[in-house]
């Protein structure tokens, strides 16, 4: 009996010793990831269990309702940030809440895939519109037909890794998309100018315009009484190249466009309130640029800059106007084309001399003693 007891005690002691010796391994295994372990999404395995998170884009598209599909593109073998965002942003409840009934799918973009990985990536992304420039992380939002209505690449749109900004932007785009669907349905029940107005509202939403919007507007309001066709058709760039004396996009050597030539057409655009503020201001910019080239810092130039700012001081162009006023009010006035050319040549010469001078200074700096 005693022997048996002793045996049991010894066995226990021995086991304890074994376990105590083995103990240091346990935390190391659980806390420190292996250096050779490739960075993969740990949530991938669970994704298929959630009906809102199918594995492939095709499955997502089949299950999509009016909220469409939202795809998150990440780089498993090269982009750690996007891989981390799978956890901190993509696979979160906050995102699910903010995206209504949209179907969510994570799409890997590999840099050096193995044949299996390549096959997997092709299977997951089959049927998806191409990701512009393969930028990761990117959130691509498509409607239920698979047409992209918003693309949110990089930190400008997705913010930091926690993704609060990203979720906010996605929610905003999704709301706009829902509104667009609603307006499109409403437009289908209307005719003429009323229909055009509803279609016009779609054009103002902060998502990609539906293809054929202008054609639909032309059909609904052929005489453009609402001004919406002009609004949606106008291109500031095309206007610029039409007005300026260019060849192949470059100003001709002896370009002869004058402020007087530009004034009538540009002011038409500026005063056309049916057009977007940005387009109107861009047309004014063309006049401002020409005024600077012809008149330097004239009173007219200053008035134009101020007038352009008044259209919308907070817009892209509006915000730049105070700086422009400060910079260009010093420009020389009333220069003829020849004088301007001479002056520019002189400026080029001066610039050349300045660069030469800078180079010399640099050379001196190179020989500077180390402090």
């Amino acid at each position: 009996m005693t022997t048996k007891k002793a045996n049991k005690t010894s066995l226990l002691i021995a086991l304890c010793a074994v376990f105590s010796a083995a103990a240091p391994l346990c935390p190391a295994q659980s806390e420190e990831p292996s250096a050779e372990q490739p960075p993969v999404a740990p949530e991938k395995a669970d994704a298929s269990k959630n009906p809102r998170r199918p594995e492939t884009f095709q499955d997502a598209l089949s299950a999509a309702g009016d909220d469409g599909v939202i795809a998150f593109c990440y780089g498993p073998d090269w982009n750690q940030r996007s891989v981390r965002m799978l956890k901190s942003f993509w696979n979160t409840e906050n995102l699910e809440k903010a995206t209504g009934q949209a179907i969510l799918v994570a799409v890997p973009i590999y840099e050096n895939p193995s044949p299996e990985q390549e096959e997997e990536a092709n299977r997951i992304s089959a049927g998806m519109p191409p990701v512009p420039f393969s930028v990761c992380p990117t959130v691509m939002m498509v409607d239920k037909n698979g047409t992209m209505y918003a693309n949110l690449p990089g930190s400008d749109f997705l913010g930091d890794e926690k993704g609060a900004t990203g979720i906010q932007n996605i929610a905003q785009k999704l709301a706009a998309h829902r509104k667009a669907v609603e307006l499109m349905n409403k437009a289908a029940t209307l005719q003429g100018v009323e229909k055009a107005k509803v279609l016009g509202e779609i054009g103002e939403l902060p998502i990609e315009k539906p293809s054929g919007l202008v054609d639909m507007l032309k059909e609904a309001d052929p005489k453009d009484t609402t001004g919406l066709i002009r609004r949606n058709e106008h291109s500031a760039l095309q206007f610029l190249y039409k007005q300026m004396d260019t060849k192949d996009g470059f100003l001709k050597q002896d370009f002869h466009t004058t402020l007087k030539d530009l004034m009538v057409e540009s002011m038409k655009i500026v005063n056309d309130t049916a057009l977007r503020t940005e387009d109107r201001q861009a047309a004014y910019c063309l006049l401002i640029g020409q005024a600077r080239r012809e008149e330097g810092g004239s009173k007219r130039l200053k008035d134009m800059i101020n007038a352009n700012m008044k259209i919308d001081p907070n817009s892209f162009y509006g915000r730049a106007m105070p700086r422009l006023l400060a910079l260009w009010s010093q420009e020389r006035a009333n220069e003829s084309v020849d004088e301007r050319r001479t002056r520019r040549n002189q400026e080029k010469e001066d610039e050349k001399k300045r660069r030469q001078h800078d180079r010399e200074i640099k050379k001196t700096e190179r020989n500077v003693n180390v402090e």
Partner: protein
């Protein structure tokens, strides 16, 4: 008894398991742990523990063996790069909580106090290394550089040799600086990378930069990502070396342009965030004179980005020389500011290959919204305030032309840790990205390219390619560099003959190591008698080692370093011919000669003297070489041109030689057809280019033009193949077909797609093919056999439809210089070809030109261009 046995077994099992789990619990376990850790991690080398220097037996080797470190042979044989990895950071033992190594304990390590007196240190190292080398012979030197201690001291000596020792002494006066830098300078992988991977100039300034980096980044020696990503150790130290070396050699250590008070006030008033001034400006005011701001910003950008896992993972595993490209990306350019690069890192991160197309994010816009063109100072000025410090983003939003596009693409790659650089092409700017172990040019229009990244003082693409090949051969290159340093040491210490031996050893070990050739030949010129056989040997060696893969660099070596001496030592033309044959004999058939080889050819030819037979021999040699290597066809066109310049009769004879060469290609050659096409294409292309040249310079030699017209027409006839061309049916315009017998000229040839020999056929109803590289304003010019009244033109595109010709237009000219617009091509057409008919006032012209316009990147791709002469339509 039975139980006792069980106890014993159990205790033994327990002991074994316990030992396996944690040896530290047992006596002697600590040592074992250390050994185990050393085996599978990056341990410290204690040089004292190394085996005594192993002497290699005298076994003749056909090629020098790469040298490996003691005790590392097996590992390095498997993977040469892992040799670098296992080179240990011996000093920075603080990593991963290990016991720091005391440098004074390590034999061969230089103490900080010694670094404070660099002149004395240089003397000490010199005498130490000299005494150990003794009388150098090959085996002794190979054995010598196997020893890590020797390698360390060689690198240290080389650094001191290139430094301004007074300035270095000034720098090291500060004890903290000396202590800190000594750790790096005693670290073999770091110092050898600092000295040899890149082009170290003014090391004292580069070291001052590194010291600044250490001050702002106390954590430089610790890689936070080490546990998560498998990379070579010391990534941040390697970044520091690369940034310092690149910024120093480019002189990018000025303080930049500080903001004026008004500017700062404006930014504050408008609420626009201030651009980066200095990353560490939060606590204290930025110093007035801050020589290293740009470099420090760059270092912090990469170090922090790496620590935070924001760079492409492959960055950590880049070889050190490749790390110089992203770390040394345009430090003096608005694309190279930390804020701009940060934006590109966060918004343009893509798999490496995707950077080849990243430039397309930027719209090609020569005019901005104010009507100012891209070449004026006003293009970005109105928008600068909206994009403070974010030039890349500004470029993407506002637009650019080729330069901005290429800088955006390359900068995107570099900002994410992928090597890239921009390069100039004739009238264009392109860029290249390092993908799959190769440089891939992109946004390119020409093969005549000059990288903006300076390689050995050269902007040549071929120099960069050669440097790439050299570094790929890592271990051999490093050994050659070490041997070269030893040679420098001997040369400096008045031992030129032994120095010469070592230089020779270095060049034979790594002939692609450009700088050593200069040193070798300079020393040879000073101390060796000018024995022709010696120089002929060098000539042969360079030709066999370099010419096959790098013909342009080989020609450069020859013309700049070998020929100036060699050609004076060789007395007869025959001897010279032997030397020249060596070059042509070693050319690789597949390597296209897309460079200007005329300098070398002229130098060779001019040295031959006046004897006509020798000259003819030379031309025969050229013709013979080109027969075997049709890719070098341009040499043939040079030969004819040069022969005519010499005198008419020589010209006629060389012309005959070329004719017979083309007619008598060896038909038993299995590549007969390909060779014939290639060779004829070279001659025809030369013909076309010469004609284009004579248009630019009408006073040029018209005989050339006639000759080439003749040859182009003669050989093109062989390639009329109407059956394969499937020419469509069309109703021709009124008048007589005038184009057959004319000459085609392209502004940008696409030799890979365009066989060129069918150009003449494309001017006939049978059709041929004319294909150019893609680009804007691609032009094809047709010189008609005689002046005509252009009544109509038929253009047959290769593709199935004619919908791609928006913006294209056709012009005519009498002289090939002054052009008049004839017509714009239709935007779209359902016909399989475009038929232009001039209904009245048919213009008189000798030339017609089709231009693809400026809107899109397109290439000429036509089956036929047929021109009709309508005399009635005058």
């Amino acid at each position: 008894m039975k139980w006792r046995l069980s106890y014993v077994v159990l205790i033994l099992v327990m002991l074994v398991v316990g030992y396996m789990v944690d040896p530290m619990l047992f006596p002697g376990g600590e040592k074992q742990v250390q050994q185990t850790k050393e085996e599978d991690s990056f341990f410290e080398i204690d040089i004292r523990k190394n085996e005594p220097q192993r002497v290699v037996q005298n076994t003749p080797e056909p090629e020098p063996e790469p040298v490996v470190e003691d005790g590392q042979e097996d590992e390095e044989e498997k993977d040469p790069e892992s040799a670098e990895i296992t080179q240990i950071n011996r000093v920075l033992g603080e990593d991963r909580g290990r016991r720091p190594v005391h440098e004074e304990d390590v034999k061969g390590v230089i103490r900080p106090n010694e670094w404070r007196k660099p002149k004395a240190l240089e003397r000490k190292l010199t005498s130490r290394l000299r005494s150990r080398i003794g009388t150098p012979n090959r085996d002794r030197i190979l054995a010598f550089i196997r020893d890590p201690e020797n390698r360390l001291q060689i690198a240290q000596w080389e650094l001191l040799h290139r430094a301004d020792l007074d300035a270095l002494s000034e720098l090291m006066k500060d004890k903290e600086t000396a202590d800190s830098l000594a750790k790096l300078l005693n670290n073999l992988p770091w110092i050898s990378s600092f000295v040899y991977d890149g082009e170290m100039e003014k090391p004292e300034i580069a070291l001052a930069m590194v010291q600044q980096f250490r001050k702002v980044d106390k954590d430089m020696d610790h890689d936070r990502l080490m546990d998560k990503v498998k990379v070579k150790p010391g990534v941040k130290r390697r970044i520091a070396a690369a940034v310092a070396v690149e910024f120093t050699r480019n002189g990018w250590y000025g303080s930049g342009t500080p903001l004026t008070k008004e500017q700062i006030k404006y930014y504050k008033d408008t609420g626009i965030p201030l651009p980066d001034i200095t990353p560490d400006s939060g606590k204290k005011k930025a110093p007035v004179k801050d020589n290293f701001r740009l470099a420090r910003e760059r270092y912090l950008f990469f170090a922090q980005s790496w620590d935070e896992g924001l760079l492409n993972t492959s960055f950590g595993n880049l070889p050190d020389w490749l790390m110089h490209f992203p770390c040394g990306w345009r430090g003096n350019n608005p694309f190279g500011t930390a804020s701009s690069m940060r934006w590109q890192r966060d918004n343009c991160s893509a798999p490496a290959r995707a950077y080849l197309d990243m430039c397309s994010q930027v719209p090609y816009l020569p005019l901005n919204k104010y009507g100012d063109d891209i070449f004026s100072n006003y293009y970005y000025q109105p928008f600068d305030v909206l994009y403070p410090g974010l030039f890349a983003k500004e470029t993407r939003d506002i637009g650019a032309v080729c330069g901005g596009l290429s800088h955006f693409g390359a900068s995107s790659a570099c900002s994410n840790g992928v090597p890239a650089f921009t390069m100039g092409e004739p009238g264009h700017c392109a860029y290249a990205v390092y993908v799959d172990d190769e440089w891939h040019p992109t946004n390119t229009i020409s093969e005549k390219r000059q990288p903006h990244y300076l390689t050995w003082g050269l902007h040549q693409w071929s120099a960069l390619q050669m440097m790439t090949d050299m570094y790929k051969d890592g271990q051999r290159t490093r050994d050659a560099q070490m041997i070269c340093s030893l040679a420098n040491l001997l040369a400096k210490n008045k031992n030129p003959i032994n120095a010469l031996k070592l230089y020779e050893m270095a060049v034979t070990m790594q002939p692609l190591y450009n700088p050593v050739w200069g040193m070798y030949l300079d020393t040879a010129a000073k101390y060796l008698s000018k024995r022709p056989s010696k120089y002929l040997g060098v000539n042969d060696f360079i030709c066999s080692a370099v010419a096959p893969k790098h013909p342009e660099m080989c020609a450069r070596y020859l013309t700049e370093t070998i020929y100036p001496t060699l050609l004076t030592t060789l007395k007869t033309g025959k001897q010279k011919m032997v030397a020249f044959k060596s070059y042509f004999g070693n050319l690789n058939e597949n390597e296209k000669a897309e460079w200007d080889m005329e300098k070398m050819l002229s130098m060779q030819f001019d040295s031959l003297g006046k004897a006509v037979p020798v000259k003819l021999d030379y031309f025969r040699m050229i013709a013979d070489s080109v027969r075997r290597r049709p890719a070098f066809g341009p040499a043939l066109s040079w030969a004819v041109r040069r022969a005519y310049q010499d005198n008419r009769s020589t010209g006629e004879r060389v012309r005959g030689m070329v004719d017979s060469l083309l007619d008598d290609l060896p038909k038993d050659d299995p590549n007969y057809n390909d060779t014939q096409v290639l060779l004829k294409a070279s001659v025809i292309r030369a013909a076309e280019e010469m004609t284009a040249l004579s248009l630019e310079n009408p006073r040029g030699n018209n005989r050339d033009k006639e000759y080439y017209l003749d040859i182009a027409n003669k050989y093109s006839k062989d390639y009329l193949n109407p059956e394969e061309n499937n020419m469509p049916d069309f109703t021709p315009p009124p008048g007589k077909l005038i184009s057959p017998g004319g000459l085609v000229m392209l502004d940008m040839y696409a030799p890979k797609q365009d066989s060129i020999v069918t150009h003449a056929a494309a001017l006939t109803p049978q059709g041929g093919a004319i294909i150019s590289e893609k680009g804007k304003h691609r032009k094809v010019t047709v010189e008609l056999p005689k002046r005509a009244n252009i009544g109509g033109i038929v253009i047959v595109p290769t593709g199935p439809d004619c919908t791609a010709y928006r913006e294209w237009f056709v012009e005519t000219s009498m002289d090939g210089k002054n052009w008049k617009l004839l017509a714009n091509l239709p935007e779209s057409s359902e016909n399989p070809c475009i038929v232009l008919t001039v209904e009245r006032d048919c213009p008189q012209a000798r030339y017609i030109r089709i231009d693809s316009g400026a809107e899109q990147l397109q290439g000429i791709n036509f089956k036929a261009i047929l021109v009709y002469d309508n005399k009635k339509g005058k």
